[in-house]
């Protein structure tokens, strides 16, 4: 059998070979690949930890692992998934690849800084993995004091150093995106012609830059108290343990929007492409992203309704949390309305996008229960919360991420993935996801606290359902790993624009040349001009001198 060959021309993948050409590259597209490999690695490591957690929870007794081990497993699951997969996931992989291409630029504003941010990410990951290998950490990914700073006998310092370092890669990526989006848009590409993917990444970058330094400082303080017994959080040393929660959630709540805003950006692109329509209420959706980024900074106290903060502070945070829900609701309504009188196809990326809307809607609406003071008191720190944030982070972010990977795979590799398998995987993930996490809402309301190694027997049936769902979910996540790798060699040749999409990134060959565009484009239309021919949305700039 002869393999399908991509036409012989120079592009970013074949311009040079060898390990140095990758590890020293400043091409944003190759750096995106470095990130793709790294976050995929961390995703499966985090998934492995989750597998053991779910297996342990099949029975009420602690029979698979000891309590210490269980506590380390859920901690390492959370730390790995949050800081090394979900936060960098879409921005550092898809954002890195697509931000310059979507705005008609040849690279990010600071290509070497971009490479540096990957090395910083890897260094942080190395510290955290070393901590895991040396015996792990058992504080929960939330590192609550004074347990983390004084009482835990595990590798807290090494882990927080890892997370601290990794934060700088987020800051640098955010900085790079903001400067690039401000300064390097193609002629004619005004702010309100930008794809919503760019708006979402702009909003995300604001959070990266404003939020990440706060978690960095907070983790330094935990380290100082742990190593030098400097009294900051432990009351026995004159500190305040609740202060840590304020500082931690000041970053970590907006971090949820770091995870979900880029996914919303991806979904906007997919819905538009597979209904061949401009996103309904484009401007509203764009500003909704910014509103989420800004209001998202003012709701951290909703993690602390039972922490002993004042009743009145609780009321203000509850009110603001309801406000931040509105822009998300508006987005969901606008995506739905985009389908109206569209030309809807069911390609795999669209299935992921519709799956995203389904799971994100449930995740978002269950967030209302947690914003409601009287209900949060009961469900706080139970499996209800665990279910809710997995619907947002796994249901939302991972569906968006996978949808995006499938959609831009032909652009990144020049080849298409096997469509049937991809649709099957999307379906398996959707079903497996609900079976895994829906029972946890019930578990939470009937009172099962989170982070429990052993639990009363009346909670078993729902836990078994959840574990069964997780095994289906695992199959759903392994499938794309297999067929995407397979497609690198055996996939059919995609061509420049297999979806008939209107984004600038589709108006250049696949895989793109190192410079992204053979000739720099001049944009003459807004994003999603599906009623026009692709050739009508931009013109080619006449070279100035030749």
């Amino acid at each position: 059998m002869s393999l399908p060959e991509i036409e012989h021309r120079e592009h970013y993948l074949n311009i040079n070979y060898g390990i140095r050409s990758w590890l020293l590259t400043t091409d944003h597209k190759r750096i995106a690949w470095l990130y793709l490999l790294s976050v995929t690695f961390f995703f499966f490591i985090g998934g492995l930890f989750a597998t053991f957690v779910r297996l342990e929870l099949m029975t009420p007794q602690g029979d698979l692992v000891q309590a210490e081990t269980y506590n380390k497993l859920f901690t390492m699951h959370g730390v790995t998934m949050v800081f090394f997969f979900l936060i960098p996931g879409i921005p550092a992989v898809l954002g890195n690849f697509l931000v310059p291409m979507m705005i008609g630029a040849r690279d990010l504003a600071f290509p070497r800084l971009n490479l540096a941010s990957w090395y910083i990410f890897i260094l942080g990951g190395a510290f955290t993995l070393t901590a895991a290998a040396a015996g792990g950490v058992d504080t929960g990914w939330t590192f609550y004091t004074p347990y983390s700073s004084i009482y835990s006998n595990t590798h807290v310092a090494l882990t927080v150093v890892g997370v601290f370092i990794t934060g700088f890669s987020s800051i640098l990526t955010g900085l790079n995106f903001i400067v690039t989006i401000h300064k390097m848009r193609a002629p004619g590409l005004t702010w309100f012609r930008l794809p919503l993917f760019i708006w979402a990444h702009y909003a995300t970058s604001i959070i990266f830059i404003l939020g990440t330094p706060v978690i960095a400082i907070t983790l330094v303080l935990v380290g100082l108290e742990r190593i030098f017994r400097l009294g900051i959080f432990d009351p026995a040393l004159g500190g305040d343990p609740v202060l840590f929660q304020h500082l931690f959630w000041f970053y970590s709540h907006p971090a949820v929007y770091i995870m979900v805003l880029p996914a919303m950006g991806v979904v906007s692109e997919l819905i538009a492409c597979f209904s061949r329509k401009r996103i309904f209420g484009y401007t509203v959706v764009a500003f909704a992203s910014l509103a989420i980024a800004v209001i998202g900074f003012l709701v951290w106290g909703h993690h602390m309704f039972v922490s002993g903060q004042s009743v009145h502070a609780g009321m203000i945070f509850s009110f603001l949390s309801f406000l931040v829900a509105i822009p998300s609701a508006i987005k969901v309504f606008n995506w739905t309305a985009t389908l109206y009188k569209g030309s809807v196809s069911y390609d795999a990326p669209m299935l992921y996008a519709l799956g995203f809307i389904g799971l994100f809607t449930i995740g978002g609406l269950t967030g209302l229960f947690l914003a409601t003071l009287g209900i949060d008191v009961h469900v706080h720190d139970t499996y209800f919360v665990v279910a809710h944030f997995h619907y947002i982070m796994v249901g939302g972010s991972v569906m968006g991420y996978l949808g995006g990977i499938h959609f831009w795979w032909p652009k990144m590799t020049g080849r298409t993935y096997p469509e049937g398998w991809a649709r099957l995987a999307a379906l398996i993930i959707f079903i497996g996801f609900h079976l895994t996490f829906f029972p946890q809402f019930v578990l939470g309301y009937i009172g099962m606290p989170r982070r429990y190694h052993v639990y009363p027997p009346e909670f078993q049936v729902l836990n078994v359902m959840s574990t069964a769902g997780a095994s289906i979910l695992a199959v759903g996540y392994l499938l794309p790993l297999v067929y995407l790798i397979w497609s690198l060699r055996y996939g059919t040749v995609a061509g420049a624009n297999p979806w008939g999409a209107r984004g600038l990134e589709w108006q250049t060959p696949s895989p793109p040349p190192t410079t992204n565009f053979d000739t720099p484009p001049v944009v003459t239309e807004g994003a999603y001009a599906y009623e026009k021919d692709p050739e009508e949305i931009y013109t080619v700039r006449k070279p100035a001198h030749v």
Binding site: G62, A67, D138, T142, Y144, P146, Y147, Y151, P235, A236, P241, V242, K277, G281, Y282, V284, F305, V306, G308, V311, M315, S318, F319, F322, I326, I330, V332, F333, T336, A337, L339, K341, G342, S343, V344, S345, Y346, T361, I362, L368, A371, T372, G374, V377, H378, D381, T382, Y445, I446, G447, P449, R450, Y452, H453, Y455, P456, P457, E458, V461, E531
Partner: protein, 317 residues
């Protein structure tokens, strides 16, 4: 494996039906919106499915009034949730004045309770039916959380300060008590039960385990043992202010500020006496940090509180 499982926890406090009613309201509202979105998406996706490769749907910009409608209606609904939830929350954190007071100390990994009459329990709490109970709680080490699912109440238990929780049980029986804030290795073993007894039964139980010493009595003996009475006696001395009738009052501090004498203030004055000096006194009191256990501090507080109750203050004069 028991194949049946409950969908709702038992309702055993005055708060439980109120929380559940609000919960049902949210379930109804959110289910409606989930159904609305799902049905609309499926309907549109089928009705407007691509029928030919060359379809070019006419562009639709958006619709101002639709945006207004689907912003304002959710906003209105969430404001109902906000107010309703806030009212319940406010009541959850404002105990009635006549509540029975019980002290709770959490530590890795057990719960210790002490009743005003002096009875102590570990990982169990006996309370009377139909009487509001207020728990004053602290931790000896890390943050714990006192969670009673059947009562729908929960409160973090912090080291170095007091938090409170109150409830009124409405159904006799035994209900689970969980630690809900992750606190280390045996976090999931930091569980217990709360036993709700008919008032007569409760009185019987109270007298059954009686030591003869109430919490205030125990506090008084500590007060003598640590020599507190040398400065804080009778109407006070030049070294220390009088404590009789002090609890709940507002005192003037050096520097012009004022402080309300509550549990946290007394605790701080024993652990860190120089933090707040009452106007007119010298900062000469030594710290008792590390010398008195959390239970002891609660007993001292019970004693100082008792000096503000008419009968006790009378008998001491």
């Amino acid at each position: 494996m028991n194949l049946g499982f409950p969908l709702f926890p038992e309702q055993a406090s005055t708060m439980a039906p109120r929380v559940d009613a609000l919960f049902y309201f949210l379930v109804a509202v959110t289910s409606f919106f989930v159904a609305l979105i799902f049905v609309t998406i499926v309907f549109f996706a089928v009705k407007y499915r691509r029928r030919g490769e060359n379809e070019r749907p006419a562009p639709i910009e958006g619709n101002f009034w639709l945006e207004v409608i689907w912003s304002v209606i959710p906003l209105g609904l969430t404001m109902i949730m906000f107010v309703w939830g806030a009212v319940i929350y406010f009541d959850m954190y404002n105990p009635p004045d006549d509540a029975l007071e019980i002290s709770i100390v959490g530590r890795q990994w057990m719960w210790k309770a002490q009743h005003p009459e002096g009875q102590s329990e570990i990982n169990e709490l006996h309370v009377p039916l139909g009487q509001s109970v207020k728990l004053t709680m602290t931790s000896e080490d890390v943050i714990h959380d006192f969670f009673l699912p059947a009562f729908r109440v929960k409160q973090d238990v912090l080291p170095g300060r007091y938090t409170t929780l109150w409830f009124e049980a409405t159904k006799a029986g035994e209900y689970p008590l969980y630690c809900a804030e992750y606190c280390g290795t045996q976090h999931s073993g930091m569980i217990g039960r709360i036993v709700v007894l008919e008032p007569a039964e409760f009185q019987k139980w109270l007298s059954g385990g009686a030591t003869g010493m109430s919490m205030a009595d125990l506090g008084e003996s500590l007060f003598q043992r640590f020599g507190c009475h040398t400065c804080h006696r009778g109407a006070g001395t030049p070294q220390g202010p009088a404590l009789t009738g002090l609890f709940g009052k507002t005192v003037k501090l050096e520097g012009g500020a004022t402080a309300i004498v509550d549990e946290d203030y007394i605790r701080e004055s024993i652990i860190d006496p120089r933090a707040k000096i009452v106007a007119g006194y010298q900062p000469i009191m030594p710290t008792f940090k590390g010398l008195i256990s959390e239970e002891g501090l609660l007993q001292l507080i019970a004693y100082i509180k008792s000096l503000s109750m008419p009968e006790r203050a009378q008998s001491k004069k």
